[in-house]
Subunit: 320 residues, 2 copies
Amino acid sequence: MFRKEIKVTDCTLRDGGLINKWQFSHEMVRKVFLAVNQSGVDYMELGYRASRKMFDPKEYGPWRFTTDEDVREIIADTPVNMKLGVMVDIGRVEEEDIAPCEESPLDFIRVATYIHDIDKAIALANHVDAKGYESFINIMAISTAGEFELREALNQIEAETNVVAVNIVDSFGFLYSESVHYLVKLFLEKLKTKSTGFHAHNNQQLGFANTIEAIRKGANYLDGTITGIGRGAGNCPLELLLSFLRNPKFNIEPVLQVIEDVFLDLRQKIEWGYLIPYMITGILNEHPRTAIALRQDPQKKDKYAEFYRTMTTPECFSEK
Amino acid sequence: MFRKEIKVTDCTLRDGGLINKWQFSHEMVRKVFLAVNQSGVDYMELGYRASRKMFDPKEYGPWRFTTDEDVREIIADTPVNMKLGVMVDIGRVEEEDIAPCEESPLDFIRVATYIHDIDKAIALANHVDAKGYESFINIMAISTAGEFELREALNQIEAETNVVAVNIVDSFGFLYSESVHYLVKLFLEKLKTKSTGFHAHNNQQLGFANTIEAIRKGANYLDGTITGIGRGAGNCPLELLLSFLRNPKFNIEPVLQVIEDVFLDLRQKIEWGYLIPYMITGILNEHPRTAIALRQDPQKKDKYAEFYRTMTTPECFSEK
């Protein structure tokens, strides 16, 4: 699939950091940066930008904050072939945390939002845009968004923002291909002057497949992470996505090399990928938090049948 | 997706046995049989039927041969809710190895073939059919079959056999959704009196996704294995497939239970699933044998970038 409008965003560090509170060393981040920079990827999301007033830097690693200083240190004197950026959460960042774009090594900022916070997301995206960054909005947990609210949100984003793209985020890994087709069609219909993007989760081993389906139906902004690293079941693996996109500018070799050099070892220390508890929350259209908690309980982490019974027994829901 | 014509075949033991020469204990096989029998699955393929003259029972476990005696021992006095069967390879089984169906606990036999052996496969399927079994033909390595040969093969199967279904087997895990759509459409067009089936491999994490796509386009015979066990990257995970098929007759709880009881431990002893070397052979439309050999070499098993370079450098091909 070669379509020149297609742009790939690597979110390895941002989404992967959700597993370990962004405790990645500068050495590791530099290796990942170099690999992605050589792979032909268009955008790299290095972490979250969050306020140090709200999160304790003793508890959270540097990529929770992704300061301009840390980003400059990672880049050093390497020529950057891609756009660099961060994600921001509504209410977790202050205006003073975001310098004007011309003073920053960053090029883009993505605003993550649930459908009910869309007005706040628009305000934040417009703030980011006014400071000179490319702005994006990611609508999370799309599989629980009401159709009426979603249509209204898309109308508003189209009318009131300058975002480059709006990303469909399948946070729970619930979508099947036909739902992806339906959503991409809706986004394309509503967003006449913006692009549509897709961010998958892999609870049902559909992260890559759903990304392909989004591409087939016209989404041009696609997210991936190296080896699919990300909270819970993880994401669409970047190595598969780049290989699918026949554009000669992409090169998977540096990605394969950094998997060897960094991710094999990391996977021994932190967990992500297709595991039955995440599959269960995925098929039930639930946030993975119950599955994450289960995986942290050494007695229960592999009690799959019991977990499934709990999650599907209505009277247990009230205890959650 | 609830379509009453849909039939699911579990091939956990048959395909999983390719990893360890079918060295599964009767106790383990009994547990898997009971779980599948409770799950609502329609067909269970217990192993291969092969001639003891051609394979040494000291080297190969019982499910390389899957004798009627062994099957009776597994069933014991359990009421069987599904059809039981085996796979046969052309030239690896003799007529005397197959008793008349009425004397056997088995109900079906699937003939595995490459496209160039289709005449032999038809003869063997007809032999099996004459003995009273439901017969099937699985066309392996479909992603390397020439279109002309494939059309001819389907014409012949339609005209000359009584097979219940012909299965598209993506042995190399190479297919994307659009190729699956194309093949299923072709099979449906050619096979007026037979059903179409699909057997996926998971080299690109598309095993389940491609099975969904085959279903969407009209394939009614679908293969899965518990946790996706199978040679190399493995197969479409049965637990995902059953959950996707909304037919109330399916129940994933016994499958989740046996994953806990049997497969977690087994995965510590033998390897299957998405791993970069299998991804590489998949995207290159190659048999996984080079990747399997790599995984058995402790020095090289994780040398992904080097393996990719070897596999994509034309002069290295001559050495393979």
